[in-house]
Symmetry: C2
Subunit: 418 residues, 2 copies
Amino acid sequence: MNAEIISVGTELLLGQVVNTDTTIVARELSALGINLLYSAVVGDNVDRLKLAVETAISRSDLLIMTGGLGPTTDDLTKETTAACAGKKLVLHQESLERIQNYFNEKHVSENQAKQAWLPEGCTVFRNDNGTAPGCAFQAETGCTIIMLPGPPSELEPMLKNCAVPYLKQGQEWVIVSHNVHIYGKGEAPVAQMMDDLMNGENPTLAPYAKEGECYLRVTAKAHTEEEADKMCQPLIEEIKKRLGDFVYSVDVETLEELVVQKLAQQGKKLATAESCTGGLLAKRITDVPGSSAVFDMGCVTYANEAKEALIFVPHEILEQHGAVSEETARAMAQGIVKRSGSHIGVGITGIAGPDGGTPEKPVGLIYIALSDGEQTWVTKRSPIGRTKSREWHRHCAASQALDMVRRYLDGLPVIAEK
Amino acid sequence: MNAEIISVGTELLLGQVVNTDTTIVARELSALGINLLYSAVVGDNVDRLKLAVETAISRSDLLIMTGGLGPTTDDLTKETTAACAGKKLVLHQESLERIQNYFNEKHVSENQAKQAWLPEGCTVFRNDNGTAPGCAFQAETGCTIIMLPGPPSELEPMLKNCAVPYLKQGQEWVIVSHNVHIYGKGEAPVAQMMDDLMNGENPTLAPYAKEGECYLRVTAKAHTEEEADKMCQPLIEEIKKRLGDFVYSVDVETLEELVVQKLAQQGKKLATAESCTGGLLAKRITDVPGSSAVFDMGCVTYANEAKEALIFVPHEILEQHGAVSEETARAMAQGIVKRSGSHIGVGITGIAGPDGGTPEKPVGLIYIALSDGEQTWVTKRSPIGRTKSREWHRHCAASQALDMVRRYLDGLPVIAEK
């Protein structure tokens, strides 16, 4: 099955928005074993959109459109695509009611109501995160067309909950994918270690980079889900064997999710003391719904006085070793355990940049400590030649702290052996 | 001048890499006043690439290609594009020497040397961050073709240092844009208020949504930068007049950046006490380089005990009114001022969801308080019918807190009149 994607929106052509929709859709198509041959971006312009849609539906089996389903007069995707495909738009009463409910009003504006007009005979995809529904239907050419809303927060759940199941229906094969998540080894060395496994046709193996991490996707196709799943398992086991404790999860997508799960299972609590990450670690932990069961407290101690007053970092340590030091990180982790009464405390201190670096303590130097009240471990992150952003340093330091917690909870060496 | 972009690389169609190249190029083209009409992604496949290039050079004045210039056999951009444009490839001796120097070897492999073969008569763009040079030349159709390497760390500097100056040579106009940022009014009502201003041709006005905020972009073109800038000003003034204190900045892109600037200007410090936002507000403030001058301390007090112990919220208030209440938010803001000695304290408490809501205190109910030690203001955010994500509620609550700080620092009513 050959597919293409058309993303609609002038904002994409002005560079105001990064086109993550295409990446999200491309990844799902790849997991379904559908070949994506082209993707294109067209502005909010009827003629150019028409040309793009006509070309696509005459040469491909599947066209996925993203964006341009909203209420404004700029939003032309549905009208234009339906016309190209030889379909009329008809009012979908249930969608209209959902939009009315969304705004808590019986009479929504004509523009808002426009979103409930959909191609005749289509399968409607309910939007649980916004107003514009999506849909799927067949063009007269035989090409299947799927339309999804542009905002990623609406597109992603609709893709997973509606479009993927819709595409699976038509398939005689069931595709099952598992993601093996890795912390502490980069995509390139991981890919090299898996080199001999990457030419398989079923299951397939592909590496993906994630900010400061990577993962391997194992995909198998078979007649039933159980069968496909079973085909993945030996490959997953082989990956785990090769990578050992660098594998942090299969299918739990983030370190924070995993850590919250493990803490809850073990009935333990975590507290955080952050300097250079400035609350990012606490934010990531509390991104996870239900984190309140395992997280009582975090302190963002940016100033030295705050480190002393809130989490008992001794004045002498700050004076002797400076705020960015192994000793301060250690005292922060120990201090937050004492302050919070939690089982585990994490302390992070470093120089996130872009300013504040010195030859001895350059931008990117970050110390991360974990304490359980008895023992304390400290990791030192050093910049290695390349210039990375403030955001990057902060994100990676928070990730490494989470990985240390994961290792501690699993009874592994808290500091990974390289 | 009408342009299009073709990005080459199968990894983009597999969703392994987000196509940021297109965004980076699109933004520069927009700043140059060049209309980008299409952008497309094609895999590493000669036939499909040929089709895409032929279509582009027959309809556009400018084609920018990204990716596929490297040493591997997959890298087909140059050979294919040159053939479509009716050009031969010739060896560029200087580029070959640069590649030899890069590897510190006199005899690089044939694959590496391949990168130094460029279309005859082209302008060569030196690559200071990798091996593959870029270039610019004219196809027989008259279309200008620019080829840039795929890795953003190579593409971005080459674009700015070589391609943009190359494109400016041919231009008689300079384009200037300003963004007017708005908090407290949505894109739709703002667009409605500006309706009569949006049909101008020079300057132009366009509204854009941002997560929970929006902004208006004013763009003018003229013979000099000063002239273009001057043309924008009356429109910016008119927008400000109509929107009053809902406008928070011109060209300062985020509330956190603005708040850090204003605090620094006034020599004031801010401290945060967060419950449901879990560190997000502190994280956003410390996203801003230099924020350490205005931010000493933040507390993430997720548990009631933490609210009592760290920021002195009276036990009776928590017992009588609950953690999610106006009274608790007020006590948190007052408590963090006391704890930190900062001039301004912010307290946030609410229910971010997806669980934990009740009919009286539904998901999305969030109280935000600001205190200066003398006076305290509290805003109540109520969910209005719509289901939004945990992430959304948290982001919007943090934004609203920042807007309250902005208003306080500007001597405006801390709580906006709707």
